[in-house]
C-alpha cells in the first residue's frame, strides 16, 4: 500500500490526481445537492410535529455532519504531515480548514433559524450547540496558528499538532445528545450506524436528506480539492512541470 501511495506524496502527482478526480466530485455533488434540496424543500411531506419548518434539516444536518467529518479529515492530514513530513499533507490542512469552518458556521446559523420556531429561542447553551461552537473556534485556531508563523512549514506543523489535539472534541459533539439530555433533539440517521437502530425518519424524508448529504460532501470535497490544487500551483510555480502547465494554459 505504501508503495502504491507514495508517488502521491509528490505535489505534481497529487495535482494531476486531483484534476482527474475533481469532476467526480463536482458533477455528482451538484446533481445530488440540486435534486436533494428541491425534493426536500418542495416535495417531501411536512413533519407531523414540526410542520414545514423541519425542512431546514436538509441544510442543517449535512453541514453539521460534514463539519465534523472534515475536521477528522484535517486531523488525518495533520497526522500524515507530522509523521511522514509530506508537504502536500501540510497544505491539505489549510485547504480543509476554511471549508470546514464555513460548514460549521452554516450548521450553527441554520440551527439558530431552526431553533427560533421550535424552541422559541435563537440560541441556547445546550451541550451540542456549545460543542459545535467550540468546533468553530478550533477551526479558527488552526487557521490562526497556521498563518501566525513566518516560516510556513513551521506554521503547518504547529497547526497540525493543534488539529490532532482538537480531535478530542469530535466524540464529545457526537455523544453530547446522549450524554446530556438538553434541548437538542437526538440524531435521526447516524444512529443507524452507531447504534444499529432503524432511522427515526420516514423514507420520504430520508432519501432527500441522504441526497443532500452526498451533495454537501461532493461540493465541499471539490472545494477542498480546488484549494489544494491552488496551493500546490502557488508553491510549485517555479518548477518546470508547473511552468509548462501554465504556459499550455490549462
Amino acid at each position: 500500500m505504501w508503495r502504491w501511495l507514495h508517488p502521491y506524496a509528490k505535489p505534481e502527482a497529487t495535482f494531476r490526481l486531483n484534476q482527474k478526480i475533481l469532476p467526480w466530485f463536482v458533477w455528482p455533488g451538484l446533481a445530488c445537492l440540486v435534486v436533494g434540496v428541491i425534493w426536500g424543500l418542495a416535495f417531501a411531506p411536512p413533519d407531523y410535529q414540526q410542520g414545514e419548518s423541519y425542512r431546514i434539516i436538509f441544510i442543517h444536518v449535512p453541514a453539521a455532519i460534514w463539519s465534523m467529518g472534515f475536521y477528522v479529515g484535517m486531523a488525518i492530514a495533520a497526522l500524515i504531515a507530522v509523521v511522514w513530513q509530506i508537504r502536500t499533507a501540510e497544505w491539505a490542512i489549510m485547504a480543509i480548514a476554511p471549508v470546514g469552518a464555513v460548514l460549521t458556521f452554516i450548521s450553527l446559523f441554520t440551527g439558530a433559524i431552526w431553533g427560533q420556531p421550535m424552541w422559541g429561542t435563537w440560541w441556547i447553551w445546550d451541550a451540542r450547540l456549545t460543542s459545535q461552537l467550540i468546533l468553530l473556534f478550533l477551526y479558527l485556531g488552526v487557521m490562526a496558528l497556521y498563518v501566525a508563523f513566518e516560516d510556513q512549514r513551521t506554521g503547518a506543523k504547529a497547526a497540525g499538532i493543534l488539529a490532532m489535539v482538537g480531535v478530542i472534541n469530535i466524540p464529545i459533539i457526537h455523544y453530547s445528545v446522549y450524554w446530556w439530555n438538553t434541548l437538542h433533539q437526538g440524531s435521526t440517521i447516524t444512529r443507524v450506524v452507531t447504534r444499529l437502530e432503524a432511522p427515526a425518519i420516514a423514507n420520504e424524508m430520508l432519501w432527500p436528506l441522504l441526497m443532500c448529504l452526498a451533495g454537501f460532501l461532493g461540493i465541499s470535497a471539490a472545494l477542498v480539492i480546488l484549494r489544494l490544487n491552488n496551493e500546490i500551483l502557488r508553491r510549485e510555480i517555479r518548477r518546470p512541470w508547473a511552468l509548462e502547465l501554465l504556459q499550455r494554459g490549462k
Binding site: F137, L138, L140, L145, A148, K157, I161
Partner: protein
C-alpha cells in the same frame, strides 16, 4: 568526561532550577493570583452584592477567573527558556523529553495553582459560596488545575517562537478547556444543592489522567517544531 545521571536526578534538578528562577522573579508569578483576586472583586460590584446571586454564580466566576489567570501565567512556562537558549539544552538532556515537560508542568502548577488553592476558601467566602460546597470546590481545583497546566503547555509550546502569542494562546486553549469548566462548575453546583458531585468529579479525574498522559507527547512534538 561524561557522568551518568539518572532521569530522576535530571527531573529534580529541572524542577529545583525552575522554582529558583520563579522565586527570583516573584512579581511574575504573583501577578496572576493578584489578577484573579481583582477579577473576583469586580463581580460583586458588577452584578450586585446580594448573597443569593453571588452564591449562584460563584462556581462559574471562580473557575473562569482561574482559567484567565492561568492564561496569564502560562506564557512564562517556556518563553524565557526559549529566548536564552535553555530550552534547546532541555531538549538535549539525557532523559526523555516527556519527563522534562512533566517537570515544567509541575513547576507551573506549583507556582500558579497552589496559591489559587490556598486562597480558594477566601474566594468562597467573598462570593458567599455555601460552606458545604467548599470541599468540592477545592477538589475540582485539585483535579482541574493540573489539566490547565498540561493542556496549557501544549499551547505555549506551539506559540513559543512567536513574538506576540498572547491572544493566539487564548484562542487555541480556551476551546479545549471548556469541557473542564463545564464539569467543574457542575460538580460545585451539585454540592451547593447538596446533591452528589461524584459524576462530574469522576469525569474530571478522567480528564486529568488523559491530559497528564498525552499532553507531554503533544508538547514534545510542538517543541521540536518550534525549536528546530
Amino acid at each position: 568526561m561524561t557522568q551518568r545521571v539518572s532521569s530522576g536526578q535530571v527531573i529534580t534538578q529541572l524542577i529545583r532550577r525552575d522554582l529558583r528562577v520563579a522565586w527570583r522573579q516573584r512579581s511574575e508569578f504573583l501577578n496572576p493570583i493578584i489578577f484573579l483576586l481583582v477579577v473576583i472583586t469586580l463581580f460583586p460590584l458588577a452584578v450586585g452584592p446580594g448573597a443569593d446571586i453571588l452564591s449562584r454564580i460563584a462556581p462559574g466566576v471562580i473557575w473562569v477567573s482561574a482559567l484567565l489567570s492561568a492564561m496569564l501565567g502560562l506564557e512564562r512556562m517556556f518563553r524565557d527558556d526559549f529566548r536564552d537558549g535553555a530550552l534547546e539544552h532541555m531538549l538535549l538532556l539525557p532523559c526523555p523529553i516527556e519527563l522534562s515537560v512533566l517537570a515544567k508542568i509541575t513547576v507551573h502548577w506549583i507556582i500558579t495553582a497552589l496559591p489559587l488553592l490556598l486562597v480558594s476558601p477566601l474566594l468562597a467566602l467573598l462570593l458567599s459560596l455555601p460552606m458545604q460546597a467548599l470541599p468540592v470546590l477545592i477538589l475540582t481545583l485539585l483535579l482541574g488545575t493540573p489539566v490547565l497546566s498540561a493542556v496549557g503547555a501544549i499551547g505555549v509550546a506551539l506559540t513559543v517562537s512567536l513574538n506576540r502569542g498572547g491572544a493566539l494562546l487564548s484562542l487555541l486553549l480556551l476551546p479545549l478547556l471548556i469541557p473542564l469548566l463545564i464539569f467543574a462548575t457542575a460538580a460545585i453546583e451539585a454540592a451547593t444543592y447538596e446533591l452528589s458531585p461524584a459524576g462530574p468529579l469522576a469525569l474530571m479525574a478522567a480528564f486529568l489522567v488523559l491530559a497528564l498522559g498525552l499532553a507531554p507527547l503533544a508538547v514534545k512534538a510542538a517543541l521540536q517544531v518550534s525549536v528546530n
